[in-house]
């Protein structure tokens, strides 16, 4: 509803200003949410289940219209990675990765080239001709990432993309996503239930309260990129996780 499709004057690529959301059935999912994300910022939102995290992304991508406040984003340049890979089972990896470019009516040759690059970037080279049913969950997620990468979006929305994966695969994909983040310089908005993942990935972690979702705490993450796997076991890292966990506990009551 109050979506404006222009970018704000600063380098803020995505901003929420007093965004509220009440669904038709009266469910109040979001209450006065305000924050902004600049280019090369990676913001992660953690919060209790059902507090409105997905709703936040759905408003940002205009799948849902907010009932109050303003959300500004360049709508032509959004990448959205769903919780499940949402690959088309009848398309090979290569054809799946091409899909978004195809929907934007890019010429075939360009499409092929962009898809090949994206596939290489997510480490799926050699699997171009496989069908999704032949891939493991982690590989499907890589293909899904590659599909969103093809159009080089300025804003990337991730709705618990690695939630269904085992820890090792998740950590590996964390590293790969960070690499892409550093290279592409997009603005990232990431949803997760894992505090470790949130801290490891982000420049900033936001904690949301139980429904109706409000931002109740904000933590800047001081660690420089590129981040190393062992960062997770450093004292400072653990301390920050502890603080976030504490805030989250508060959010649950």
């Amino acid at each position: 509803m109050n979506n404006s499709s222009s970018t704000s004057p600063s380098s803020t690529l995505l901003s929420f200003e007093n965004v509220s959301m009440t669904f038709d059935d009266g469910t109040k999912a979001l209450d006065n949410v305000s924050f902004g994300i600049n280019a090369s910022e990676f913001v992660t939102v953690v919060g209790p289940s059902g507090c409105g995290k997905s709703t936040l992304l759905r408003i940002a991508s205009n799948l849902e219209a907010n009932t109050g406040g303003t959300c500004s984003i360049d709508r032509n340049s959004i990448g959205y990675v769903f919780q499940d890979a949402t690959l088309m089972p009848w398309r090979t990896v290569a054809r799946n990765v091409e899909l978004i470019a195809e929907l934007h009516k890019l010429p075939k040759a360009e499409r092929h080239q962009l898809a090949a690059q994206a596939i290489e970037l997510v480490g799926l080279s050699g699997f171009e001709d496989k069908y999704p049913r032949q891939l493991s969950g982690g590989m499907r997620m890589r293909a899904s990432l590659a599909r969103s990468l093809v159009m080089k979006p300025k804003v990337f929305l991730f709705d618990e993309p690695f939630g269904a994966l085992d820890e090792i695969t998740r950590e590996r994909l964390n590293d790969e996503l960070l690499r892409l983040f550093q290279h592409e310089g997009f603005a990232g908005l990431f949803i997760t239930h894992s505090i470790t993942e949130a801290v490891y990935m982000s420049t900033k972690v936001l904690v949301m309260s139980a429904r109706p979702g409000k931002i109740i705490a904000e933590f800047d993450v001081p660690f420089a990129y590129p981040r190393n796997h062992d960062l997770r076991y450093e004292a400072e890292f653990g301390e920050l996780c502890g603080k976030i966990s504490h805030a989250l506990r508060g959010a649950h009551q």
Binding site: W90, Q117, R172, R179
Partner: protein, 287 residues
């Protein structure tokens, strides 16, 4: 994008390509059933049926000798006239099936795009599906000229329901998140139909096709039972003649060949289906 080194290659294992492989057991099954069937047939025609009624069901070897191995003995008896009429019916069945597929799939597309239209159409489709075509024959004869058109109409009436219902079910089966992916890219209704709903519907469409194909053959046989022209007769009319004259071997031969036609069409669509979607469609047998 091309400037950076590719990130590490996945060590996640690729799930092995496991398809249903043909094995010896796949052939043994049908052969055993066939032998049981032949045995049962002999039992019926030599033991179960009373002596004076055995002409109704001649033994298998009599059928082969007098039905399949007589080319043409006049009065439209023999394999040649049976094959001719079978060919005549096959043409009606295939043309009718083509019309049914085009009409049925178009109707399903329309129904999938409008909930209102879907609700308005369903009851009548079900009615067509359960209406006894036999009872409609006088009406069809009164309304439509030309036996050929009448026969095609019977095929369409009998065969259309599975195509419509399966296609519609398939078109509406795409995931919500897949639809949202298309919404995010501002895809048009047509793009959505062609690139998402139609491919997602293919497994169901092929189920509908196989059922409708068999029904189209039945429709053609029933159709030429009721709508015939002087000289040209379809297999249904031929069967009727043999039945009236109590020519057992020819009757059974004609029935077997008509069923074979149905089987061939069914197998053909199974083959097309495997070619078209076998690579990606997952069949879960639960073991």
């Amino acid at each position: 994008m091309s400037a950076v080194n590719p990130i590490s290659s996945p060590v996640d294992e690729v799930i092995p390509d496991r398809r249903d492989k043909f094995s010896f057991a796949d052939y043994v099954g049908p052969v055993v059933v066939f032998l049981v069937f032949i045995g049962f047939w002999y039992l019926l025609s030599t033991v179960v049926l009373p002596e004076q009624k055995r002409f109704l069901l001649p033994t298998p070897h009599t059928v082969i000798k007098e039905g399949f191995f007589v080319w043409n003995s006049g009065e439209r008896r023999g394999l040649q006239p049976i094959l001719m009429s079978l060919w005549d019916s096959a043409k009606v069945a295939l043309l009718g099936l083509g019309i049914t597929i085009v009409m049925g799939m178009s109707l399903a597309v329309l129904m999938s795009s409008s909930r209102w239209l879907e609700r308005a159409t369903w009851p009548y489709l079900v009615a067509v599906q359960s209406a006894p075509v036999l009872a409609l024959t006088p009406l069809i004869r009164a309304l439509i000229d030309g036996t050929q058109t009448q026969r095609l109409l019977v095929v369409v009436l009998i065969a259309i329901f599975p195509i419509v219902s399966n296609t519609l079910f398939g078109l509406l089966s795409a995931d919500k998140s897949q639809h949202e992916l298309f919404t995010l890219q501002g895809a048009s209704k047509w793009t959505r139909l062609v690139k998402l709903q139609f491919p997602a519907a293919l497994p169901n469409i092929f189920v509908g096709l196989r059922i409708s194909a068999g029904l189209a053959v039945i429709g053609a046989v029933v159709g030429d039972f009721y709508f015939r022209q002087g000289g040209v007769v379809g297999i249904g009319a031929q069967i009727d003649v043999y039945r009236n004259r109590l020519w057992g071997p020819e009757l059974i031969t004609a029935i077997i060949l008509a069923s074979t036609l149905g089987l061939v069409v069914f197998l053909f669509f199974g083959w097309v289906s495997r070619r078209a979607i076998g690579k990606w469609h997952i069949i879960n047998r639960g073991h």
